[in-house]
């Protein structure tokens, strides 16, 4: 129960890594603002199940990173709830695969809008609550693509590496409030987003170049988020932690 009496905000938590982070944080007794683009019956059922199991509070809240007004409104609603925010997980994001010379500027702008600018606005607002409270943790979910620069991922890698840079700078600025800021860079992880955007041939080749000879489960990423959210990582800030099974080239 590493997150007992803590309140977390998690973005993009109705599937993949985000959903697993929601589940793991709930198991560890965090109360959570679960931010998703669409609150559907399936998601509500899922939340009800884990709340029943873990006896904590999860508030689903609509967050559309493509709509700046909604980003501001949602973050203000969270602040106005007056619940002190202990943890922010910036997980939501989108992916695009195309050669650099087949990546339009419009697509780049769209990717940056969702993966970087909207998350920046959201974080700037939520941070106001965290600075008042102090002693908090912000976790950005980036990608090994941001560091390794995989072919076909110029737009995605650029947005994800921007998050790494922002997290590092932010860690310098808010450390005085004992707010830690770290980034997780997952390697290939078994999610629908990965499967829908990565040819199987590439996955098979990558496994051969990974020490553990397999791709990650979402839970393995969520567990690192749990560590960074908890007091177990109280002296870790400004870091990017690769969770890649020992990927090498």
């Amino acid at each position: 129960m590493l997150l007992k009496n803590k309140t977390a905000v998690i973005t993009g938590c109705n599937k993949g890594i985000g959903k697993k982070i929601l589940e793991v944080f709930s198991e560890n007794k965090a109360n959570i603002f679960a931010c998703v683009r669409k609150i559907d019956k399936e998601f509500e059922t899922f939340i009800n199940e884990i709340v029943k199991k873990n006896n904590n509070e999860i508030i689903p809240i609509k967050l559309d990173l493509n709509n700046e007004d909604n980003v501001k409104e949602t973050s203000n609603n969270i602040i106005n709830s007056k619940k002190p925010i202990d943890i922010l997980v910036n997980n939501a994001g989108t992916i695009h695969t195309a050669l650099f010379q087949m990546t339009t500027v419009d697509k780049l702008k769209e990717m940056f809008h969702t993966n970087f600018f909207s998350q920046t606005i959201f974080t700037q607002n939520i941070l106001k609550s965290m600075i008042k409270k102090r002693d908090s943790s912000i976790i950005y979910i980036s990608s090994t693509a941001a560091i390794d620069g995989n072919e076909g991922r110029s737009a995605y890698s650029s947005t994800k590496s921007s998050l790494i840079a922002q997290a590092k700078v932010l860690s310098r600025e808010v450390g005085r409030y004992n707010i830690r800021v770290n980034t997780i860079a997952p390697g290939l992880t078994n999610t629908d987003m990965m499967k829908n955007n990565t040819p199987q041939k590439f996955v098979d080749e990558l496994k051969l170049r990974t020490s553990l000879k397999r791709i990650a489960t979402p839970e393995e990423i969520a567990n690192v988020a749990l560590f960074l959210a908890s007091d177990l990582s109280s002296y870790i800030t400004g870091q990017t932690i690769r969770v890649d099974g020992g990927m090498h080239f």
Binding site: K72, N76, I79, I121, N125, K128, I131, K132, R176
Partner: protein, 79 residues
Amino acid sequence: MENYKKYCSAFTTTFSIAGAKMENLEYNKIEEWDSIGHMTLIAELEQIFSISIETDDVVDFSSFKKGKEIIKKYGINIQ
């Protein structure tokens, strides 16, 4: 008048300054009003007036006088 007193109190709390000196205060013109002091002032004003100041306005808030115009945008009249 009430709002003016509240507005001034934010500056007093943040920069330990009071009286007529406040009217001519500008960002970065005194040691205390650096970027960290600025964010502390913004947080204080947000709390006092129960508002959330947008980042563009945070950046534009360059002086005591300018701040009054900015706070007015959030429905708070400071005279």
